[in-house]
Structures are given as structure tokens and as C-alpha cells.
Amino acid sequence: MTTTDVLPTPAPSGAVPPALELRGLRKSFTTPAGTVRAVDGLDLTIRPGEVVAFLGPNGAGKTTTIDMVLGLARPDEGSVRVLGLDPAAAIAAGRVSAVMQTGGLLKDLTVRETLALTASFFGSAHDVDDVLVRAGLTDAADRRVGSCSGGQQQRLRFGLALLPDPDLLILDEPTTGMDVGGRRDFWNAIRADAARGRTIVFATHYLEEADAYADRVVLVSHGRVVADGSAAQVKSLASGRVVSAAFRDGAPSDAALAALPGVTEVERRGERVLLRTTASDDVARHLLTRTDATEVEITALGLEDAFLALTGDTTATTTSGSTR
């Protein structure tokens, strides 16, 4: 607590509930192939005003977590508090809203009708025209939803989410299937909105999006948080290079290689050894001067490689489609 507090009624610390508080969240699904642990002990606290990327490969449990935050699914274990409230209460009060990935729109209504109808559910008079402007939909207002482009439909979902003027806005992979232009327009609208101080949480599997638009990146893999920090911090966690070399007459032991400067991972492919390291120059110097390594190569990790390194999910780039 500070003496320079300007709030009319100085709140004791802890009086402002977190925008989102997840504790020990678990959720499994039974499929014909067996039980899938979609969310496996996830803890997360998001403070009011943060713009957070919920980053992870397909199947990391992002959508399932969001479903639980919105009260669309019940956790097997753990608790969800949204602005200090139960998810259903937060939804009913219009304190939280969401932009879902796909679907959720009636094709035979116009854009304006969809907004006006949804506004009526929230009871009070929300300005549909204002939302049309903020979501960039003025030109498409009287178009049937079914004949809108994918980008327009997604901006409509965004407009619907703006209607209750929520404290917390959640976006689940909002730019899936959009072209580059649509993606840029969409994020411009979101960024303009974030500038008003709204708490925003967006799920994505694009590291670039997380990097460009979030203050904080929460990396999830296999239903858990594996890294949490600023975009720069998370990127530096993933930074590093791969030094590879061939050993014609037998390579040093794994233990010896792992002890080299900054080495985090050792992999053998035939007579080649691949070392993931944060100190590639030192490792290369050592290999060339102290061992009989030949054909030494240093390659930088791409963003995708970094991402895979952190999430430890080598199937991330090959899986597609449903992300439940």
C-alpha cells in the first residue's frame, strides 16, 4: 500500500481480484482411443490490464482451458475465478466475453441483426453502431453473415464480444484461417481496444503473434504452463543454436558432451552429434581444438524450433485441425 493512492476508497491489497485465477486445473476426455488429459494441473494468475498470450501447439489444452474459464466445460479438479467470480456469474454479468475460433453465427442474419440481437441479451442499451465502427464492420453491416468473408465473420465475433463492454476479453486462436491482410486488420482492432485498459487473453500457436501483441506470454504444453514471462524472456529461453559435428573415430560420451558450455540437449544421428547450446561459439571452439570433430556446423534455431524446444512437442507442426 502506498500513501499516494488516488482511489476514492483506498483498497487494501488483495481487494482487487485477479482478472483470471486458475488453480490446479485438470480436465480429461474419454475417447475411443483412451483417456486424454487435456489440462493437467494448470495454475495461472492474470492481473487486470494485462495483455497475455496463451501460447502452445495444437492439443496443448488451450481451448479446453478457455472452455473452463467461460463455464462451457466443468473442470475435473481445481478452481476457476474470473474477476473474483464464478465463470457463469461473470458471463451473466457481462464481465467476461470471448471470441471463439469458428462457428457460433447464424448465417441467415445480417451483421447488424446479429449484433442487435446479442445486445438485447445483455439487457442494457449498448450502441450497436459504435461496435460496428470499433470492429471495422460499418461496410458489412447489412450483409448476411453467410456471405461475409472469414475475416469479417471473425470481426463480427469480436464485435459481439465487445457488446457487454467486458473487463476481460478472451480470444481463442482468433486469426485461424485469415489471410495476412485480415490478420493485420484484426490485430489492429484488438490493439486499439487493448489501449483502453481492457484485460486481454488470447490463445495462439503463432509465436510471432504472441511476440507482437502480448505483454506477457504463457507457454502451455500438455496441459501445463511450461514458461511464463515477457515475450522477450520467453524468446530468450528458447534462444540458442545447434552445433553439430561428425566424429569418425567415436564421439565423446554423452556426459562429456552435456558438460560443454551451455549445452541443453545432446542428440546422435549416426556419426554426427547435435548439441543444442546457448554458447555455440564456445562449444564450436572446444570441439575444433580439443577433439577430433570434423565438419562442424552452427545453425540458429528458427522461431518454430525454439517453440518446439520449449514445448517439447515434436508433433506440433504436423497436427492440424481440431484443437480441443
Binding site: 482511489l7 476508497t9 483498497a11 481487494a15 482487487v16 481480484p17 482478472a19 487486470p48 490490464g49 467461460l70 463455464g71 462451457l72 466445460a73 466443468r74 474477476l83 473474483g84 467470480l85 456469474a89 461473470a90 458471463i91 451473466a92 454479468a93 457481462g94 464481465r95 466475453s97 470471448a98 471463439m100 469458428t102 462457428g103 457460433g104 453465427l105 447464424l106 448465417k107 441467415d108 442474419l109 441483426e113 442487435a116 440481437l117 446479442t118 438485447s120 441479451f121 445483455f122 439487457g123 459481439l160 464480444a161 457487454p164 473487463d167 485498459g197 481492457r198 484485460t199
Partner: protein, 264 residues
């Protein structure tokens, strides 16, 4: 600032969360507008029944033959009006299936709209469509020589309309049960079959089919709705039939609806 908002509104939101209304006029209006835009529904429920009547109910001998408080043409008219009402209410109820498939019901779960208000709106719209269907067939019938006493006509319409609510429940039940996006392509033929088997399209006499008919969902309604016209007594079978099927359909719809709102 969102921090400030959170401080001032959080306690209020906990104590004074307004319960959203069950009756949603804007939603009702929007749904009725959607109904008129759906050409297939309009043809199915507002064109087909009167056309069936014109095909099967306007023969010369039907015009002259009496069935109590009117002629046979009126008998076919009332039967087709009930068929149209059943078709309309079933299709109205079953539209939840399409909206679930499109994710609309999921989107609605992100608003304060209560699931009960959603179902209520769907049923209300189904009943409006049912009434429209009845009236269209009546106009066709009265224009083409159906003779029926006014009292009998009013009673038949009221009974047909109220009774078709049973099929709104049937539509809802099927809409929640079947995953298909085109439930009515299944339910349309099913209803036609039930209408034949239940003696709605033609009288079944006293044979085996008449005995089977007593267990068919359309049987009881057909008898009750025609009773004012024929002047006949309503059998216990008919009443039991309607009450039992109403219980099955409403129970089924409530059961699936509860599962749906717990899960989606």
C-alpha cells in the same frame, strides 16, 4: 481503467446480478424474421399441407358426403391442418439441432440468455408457425367447399394448435438427440409415416392397422381434433395416447436439454 472498474463493481455484481428475463421480445422477433427467410421451411409447412388438401380432399363425392357437423372435404381439411401444424412445430423444435451444429447455442452460452429462454423462444416460434400452417389450410379448405359448423371449426383449430405443442416437444427431443445438421430430412418422412400409421391421412377401419394405430403418436391427436367435426365421442385410447406421448417427448426433451446445458 479496468482496475478501478473491478474495484467498484465486483461486490455489486455478486449480490445484485439481475436474472435475465425468460421472455425475449427482440429474440422472438428476430427468430420470426429468420423463419420467413427460410424458403424450405415455408414450402414444407405452409405450402405442402394445403396442396395435399387440394389433391386429396376436393373430389366431388367428398363435397356431398356428410360426416356429422360437416362434409368429408372438411374432414380432410382438418386432418391436413393438423398435419401441417405437426410438421411446423416439429421443424421449429428440431431447429435446435442446426443451431447446435453451427455453434450458435455455444455462442448463446456466452451471453446472459438463459437456456430456458432459448427453448421457450424456439417453442413460441414453432407454435406461431404451426398456427400459420393451420390457417393456410383452412383458407384453402373453406375456399374449396369444405363445410363445417363454426363451433366445430373453432374447436378443431384450437385443439389442433394446442395439440401440436406435443410435436414441438418431439422436435426439440429429436433436435437435441440427433447430431445431424439436416434433422428435418429424417423427420419429414418419419412424420408422413406416423401420419399414415396413426390414421391421420385416412381412416383405418377396424383391422390390425387400427389396433396398431392406437400406439402411434399421431393417433390420439387426430381423433381428438376431428371429434368436434364428426360429433363422435373421444375414446379413452385417444386421451391416453396423447398424454403418454406428450410425457415421453417432454421428458425426453428436458432430459437431453439438461445434458446439453451441462456439457456444451
Amino acid at each position: 481503467m479496468s482496475t478501478l472498474t473491478a474495484t467498484t463493481t465486483a461486490p455489486a455484481a455478486v449480490t445484485a446480478r439481475p436474472r435475465a428475463r425468460l421472455l425475449q421480445p427482440v429474440y422472438l422477433r428476430t427468430e420470426l424474421r429468420r423463419l420467413l427467410r427460410n424458403r424450405r421451411t415455408v414450402i414444407f409447412t405452409l405450402v405442402m399441407p394445403p396442396v395435399f388438401f387440394l389433391l386429396f380432399g376436393t373430389q366431388r363425392e367428398y363435397l356431398d358426403q356428410s360426416v356429422g357437423n360437416g362434409n368429408v372435404t372438411a374432414y380432410v381439411m382438418i386432418s391436413m391442418a393438423l398435419y401441417g401444424a405437426i410438421l411446423a412445430t416439429t421443424s421449429g423444435g428440431a431447429s435446435v439441432s442446426i443451431e447446435r451444429a453451427q455453434g450458435w447455442s455455444r455462442q448463446l452460452r456466452l451471453t446472459p440468455l438463459r437456456p430456458a429462454a432459448y427453448v421457450l423462444t424456439k417453442v413460441a416460434v414453432a407454435m406461431v408457425l404451426g398456427l400459420a400452417s393451420i390457417l393456410v389450410t383452412l383458407v384453402a379448405g373453406l375456399a374449396r367447399g369444405a363445410e363445417i359448423s363454426t363451433t366445430a371449426l373453432v374447436w378443431s383449430v384450437v385443439l389442433a394448435w394446442a395439440g401440436s405443442a406435443v410435436f414441438a416437444a418431439f422436435g426439440l427431443f429429436m433436435g437435441y438427440l440427433l447430431p445431424a445438421e439436416n434433422v428435418m430430412q429424417v423427420l419429414g418422412p418419419v412424420l408422413a409415416l406416423l401420419s399414415f400409421a396413426g390414421g391421420l391421412f385416412m381412416p383405418l377401419g377396424d383391422g390390425v392397422f387400427a389396433t396398431i394405430a392406437r400406439f402411434i403418436p399421431t393417433y390420439g391427436l387426430a381423433e381428438i381434433v376431428r371429434a368436434p367435426l364428426t360429433g363422435g365421442d373421444v375414446s379413452v385410447w385417444a386421451v391416453v395416447n396423447v398424454v403418454a406421448w406428450a410425457a415421453v417427448f417432454v421428458g425426453g426433451a428436458v432430459w437431453r436439454f439438461r445434458l446439453d446445458t451441462a456439457r456444451v
